[in-house]
């Protein structure tokens, strides 16, 4: 079947996800409330400039919002037997996962655009560079795919996936340079390279503070590679575990 036809079906899945899942409790708690409280806890009572806080806030927003939805969808659909409905429809398996990724990305981008707009009002529109726009879109895809990958365990209990997801996401978040810029890290810097969020935050610092640690092109390529890897692994793992869902 034609790829265009499959992409249209992915959009149908994404539309369904947007209608069904974005007001679910776990999405709002892990996607909006948790990062908000984390940011407040980090920023309150400290004499930090907006330029310093903004890249971290953007990173937290895009990371937590886009990766919050994926872990909800698969177990929820397994529990309600709607996953069976999707799998038996004439849509390729990658098309279903892509639909979920598109929906998660759209949610994350929507929230990130709000934060970015507020930042632009304070700092001026100059902070919105081409690199930042490209990196935000790529990051949304990357972290959404990460969320979908983490939800491949065949369970019908969303809380189990949320627990696993938190276990993986927090270390990635803490080593990513959100709180401490790469340039100020010492020997631990190489560990931060293992987190895809590192590359986004570094690009955001370049756009807003004017100084990044890594080459911006390298950041973009790294985000694209991490995203592609997460997406491919998500498709493979979901397909491999399909028998165990029913």
């Amino acid at each position: 079947m034609k790829v265009i036809g499959q992409l249209e079906r992915s959009l149908a899945v994404a539309k369904k996800d947007l209608l069904v899942y974005f007001l679910k409790g776990p999405t709002l708690i892990f996607g909006l409330l948790l990062p908000s409280f984390l940011f407040i806890a980090f920023a309150i009572g400290r004499d930090l400039s907006v330029e310093f806080l903004m890249p971290g806030l953007l990173g937290m927003t895009v990371f937590f919002t886009t990766s919050a939805v994926g872990p909800v969808i698969a177990p929820w659909e397994t529990r309600m037997r709607t996953f069976e409905r999707l799998v038996s429809s004439p849509i390729a398996f990658w098309g279903i996962i892509l639909g979920d990724v598109i929906a998660s990305s759209a949610f994350g981008l929507f929230i990130t655009v709000i934060v970015l707009t507020l930042g632009a009002l304070v700092e001026g529109v100059g902070i919105i560079t081409g690199y930042l726009v490209v990196a935000t879109v790529l990051s949304s895809f990357c972290f959404s795919s990460l969320g979908l990958m983490l939800s491949s365990h065949p369970t019908s209990d969303p809380s189990r996936i949320m627990m696993l997801s938190t276990l993986i996401k927090f270390p990635l978040f803490l080593i990513s340079g959100v709180f401490i810029p790469l340039s100020e890290m010492t020997s631990a810097r190489f560990i931060s390279m293992l987190s895809p969020l590192t590359y986004y935050v570094d690009l955001a610092r370049l756009s807003i503070e004017g100084t990044g640690y890594l080459n911006p092109g390298l950041n973009v390529v790294a985000l694209a590679l991490w995203g592609s890897a997460f997406f491919a692994i998500a498709v493979l793992l979901h397909e491999k575990n399909l028998d165990k869902r029913f």
């Binding site: 209608l19 069904v20 309600m80 037997r81 069976e84 409905r85 999707l86 038996s88 004439p90 029913f246």
Partner: protein, 304 residues
């Protein structure tokens, strides 16, 4: 339209489906009849591409479900074992979603969804969330979703199970209409009457195997032979004492006697007369409908 050859599914050490083969033609309703755990749902799930067969093949409209899954699925309409419309969406949204998943153009899918809403009498609730609908209405939505793509093959897994009389009748009527329009229908059920009423051929399935493929007439005979009157007397009675005329066989079930007959209405008065004449009180008396196990024995030649 459906060709199943030696289809087998093994879960760990359990052979859930064991070398099942059958075909279903256009304008035919083929029934898979069996108790819970017989392997009916697993068979359907392999036909819909949800589960991979351990061995064997299934072709839908000439397309192998493993080699050309998208082409095969495009021809199918599926009603799974449990109603699975999106409960947070309305019937209307659910139908449009199915239309999109089957690649139906927008105007066409809206027209089709509208006609299905009317056909299934869902107009009043079409914009309500499915979670607010009754079980019968939910199942109507599920069946309507299966018909969105004008399927050439309908796979229905116990579509009327647990439904109210009106919804069950409506769904049976629609299954008949689909057959008349040329659709090949595969129906699983554990309801003997439903299988007899709808199907032109019936496969009796148990323990993952097809025990026999029968015409409904044969099933009807089996159903008749497996009707019984069950009675418990205050004092013990020997089987031979209640082997009345029109009783085919008598079995002891604990403290009760089961009298197999094709005419329970004739046997009941004889049981009452026997109780009066021997002054042996009847503690309980009931008519037992056909039991699947008994039907299997009859149909597969294991009965007496």
């Amino acid at each position: 339209m459906i060709e199943v050859t030696q289809l087998t599914k093994v879960f760990d050490t359990t052979r859930a489906v064991d070398a099942v083969s059958f075909t279903v033609s256009r304008e035919e309703i083929f029934g898979l009849l069996g108790p819970n755990g017989a392997g009916k749902t697993t068979t359907i799930r392999m036909l819909t591409g949800i589960l991979k067969p351990t061995e064997g093949h299934a072709r839908i409209g000439g397309y192998d479900i493993q080699e050309h899954p998208l082409e095969a699925k495009q021809l199918m309409g599926i009603v799974p074992e449990m109603a699975n419309a999106y409960v947070d969406l309305s019937p209307w949204r659910n139908l449009l979603l199915m239309g999109e998943l089957y690649g139906i153009p927008r105007k066409e899918r809206e027209k089709k969804a509208g006609s299905l809403i009317d056909l299934f009498a869902l107009s009043e609730k079409m914009h309500h969330r499915v979670r607010t609908l009754s079980k019968g209405m939910h199942q109507r939505v599920t069946v309507a979703m299966a018909l969105m793509n004008t399927a050439q093959v309908l796979l229905l897994d116990e579509p009327t199970s647990g439904l109210d009389v009106e919804s069950a009748r409506l769904i049976r009527d629609i299954i008949r209409t689909s057959r008349e329009e040329g659709t090949a229908v595969l129906l699983t059920t554990h309801n003997l009457q439903e299988a007899d009423e709808l199907c032109s051929r019936i496969a009796i399935m148990n323990h993952g195997k097809i025990m026999a493929v029968e015409r409904p007439e044969n099933l009807k005979r089996a159903i008749k032979c497996s009707t019984s009157v069950e009675v418990a007397f205050a004092q013990e009675v020997g089987e031979h004492e209640v082997w009345f005329e029109s009783v085919n066989r008598v079995e002891r079930k604990g403290d009760r006697l089961r009298l197999y007959t094709e005419a329970p209405e004739l046997v009941i008065p004889l049981v009452v007369d026997y109780s009066r004449s021997t002054q042996n009180l009847i503690l309980s008396l009931s008519t037992i409908g056909p039991d699947l196990e008994d039907v299997f024995l009859q149909v597969t030649g294991g009965g007496q």
